[in-house]
């Protein structure tokens, strides 16, 4: 198991980068609706950056399902390899 709070910090960096907005604070219930630029195009950019940062490979269904920050964190706590 990975340390959830360390992962939150790193994931926050990824969000800041992808959405070009350093004011974003992650919350478990946060979804695409809460972030202005989180559209389907940027969703893929986000997932690819997450895959690279944490050394995970998501399957096609997971890519589509990760529209909620809490789910993303759960998955990374369980599977991050770096």
């Amino acid at each position: 198991m990975n340390d959830r709070s360390a992962i939150i910090n790193r994931l926050t960096d990824v969000f800041h980068d992808i959405f070009d907005d350093t004011s974003i604070k992650l919350r478990d219930e946060m979804t695409a609706k809460d972030v202005e630029e989180w559209d389907s195009l940027n969703h893929i950019n986000l997932v690819l950056a997450v895959e690279k940062e944490f050394g995970v490979l998501l399957n096609a269904a997971e890519v589509g399902a990760l529209a909620n920050v809490g789910q993303m964190l759960d998955l990374l706590v369980a599977r991050a390899t770096k």
Binding site: N9, R10, D13, V14, D17, I44, L48, A60, V63
Partner: protein, 625 residues
Amino acid sequence: MSQQDGAPVNSLKNRLAAAKSALADGAHKEAFLILTALVTPGDDFVNQARVAKLSLSINQTLLGLQPIRIALLASTTLDHFSDILRFWLAQEGFAADLWIAPYDTIVPTIMDEGSDLYSFRPDIVWIFTTHRDVRVDVAAGGGSEVQEVIAAAVATNTTLWQTIQHRLSCVILQNNADIPAGDPFGNYAGQVEWTRRNMLRRYNLSLGSAAPFGVVIFDLDHVAANFGRARWVDWRYWYHSKHAFTFDACGTLAFHAARLIAGLKGCAKKAIVLDLDNTLWGGVIGDDGLSGIKLGNGADGEAFVDFQRYVLTLKQRGIILAVCSKNEEENAKEPFLKHPDMVLKLEDIAVFRANWQNKADNICDIARILNIGADSLVFIDDSPLERNLVREFMPMVAVPELPEDPARYVQCIEEHCYFETVSFSPEDTERAAYYRTNAMRSELVAQFTNVAEYLRSLQMVSERGNLNPLLLPRMAQLINKSNQFHLTGTRYSEVELQACANRAQWLVRYYKLSDRFGDNGLISVVVHNGSIEHTVVIDTWVMSCRVLGRTMEEFIHNDIIEIARGMDCHTVIGRYLPSAKNKLVANLYSRLGFSQVSDEGGVTTWCLEMPSSPQPLETFITSLG
């Protein structure tokens, strides 16, 4: 991104921050240079996307980029590719305006005359198909229908090309099929003709043969193979969002496309300037002597021979070779004359500079003698010191970071795709000889005290005539490749040029030039429009820069007058449309005795009223026949 990550990621982040702050200061060029140094084509998508996204904030007008309008039509998703493509095009000098057709609407978009494709008025239409779009399935075991199926699949494309070409004056980029990594028949798929793998191979061959002038095949299969077929498709993102190639291939693909587009716009490199010691052979000829240099024997020696063979194939396809070496000239030439394993001979080298002056000055001199822009040169040198000197003083020269091991020289040059072309004519194989004899002429000129005497000594003869089918490819090529001596920037395909010649009162003329040093080939084309009463309008005039300063312009001017008189015209009108590269001819008509009629934002119109017996201008060229 995180603290425990190493320096590389942080340094990317820091460099991005530096680019941002340069942008905030309005230093757009500096920001762009920072970004271009950050990624190579092979870098992964995440880095490509970050850099490309930031590059969108750069004002492309401030960079002096040439606008280009590109329409992308695909049955798969390209949204993530477009920013990266735009970034790589900017590095080739283009400010790209990209329009992507709605997903999976290739055929309706092209067929519907009212579609946004046509109102967008693209310079390039890129039909981004993949193997998924190609219907070539036949039953296992095949049969006589194989040929028909291939022909039908190719015909689907030709219909679309014709429709576009009928409505737009543009270049069409057409993907061929990226052959999938797998096939149900495994290895056997490569043996018989009816398997999907071999059907797609055959389709790719037929597609290339079917492409008319103005249609350029983008060899997607080649890019996929170079990238690696096994990782070319990321199936997760195929099922998730119909991405036809893996995100990490975006940089490679964008780079290849950008280089090809530069090539079709006449911006590919034209010449290669070579160092000698440790570049063409191992060791230092001045110290090691003829028998001491590594060439021919041993791993290094074989690699140097192969590198020379590769350079020779470049020359044979029309790339000009020059030498720039810090050496005594006699020493430098010795291997060319005496070493049995030397592949390159002195006559392959258009300009040979071996001296102790700095290489930037020498390269400048080489560009001047060849009469080509320094931005058309690639400089190959094993010394990091020399490379950096040239980069600093001549930033327009391409200087690849040559690997230390000569075994990888060829690969290094190939990877840069410097010499992309969309046509080839027999003239190309002769080009190196033209430039070499030109260099000999410029040595000769030094022996004469006045120019007239020199020009007379050349014994120049010009063959001129009207367009004929044998010369049509070369004539169209000259019109489409010329940038400097091109008054109006017109581009005509072979079909269009033939159409010009067929119009009543139009005349398409060619001019060849030869002299005592050799043949220069077909070096100028003029399109006359005499359809207005008693007036000839010079619609297009292009000339190869390698015959500048030989009174060829005056010779052609005299021919224009003869033609005008033959058409019973009393007035000749010429126009000059300025471009980034044709300043050379801004005052051509003035020099030839035309008077300026108007100047509309730099576009000048010139007029020559002919008296009943116009005086020809002085030329040292005589007419053949």
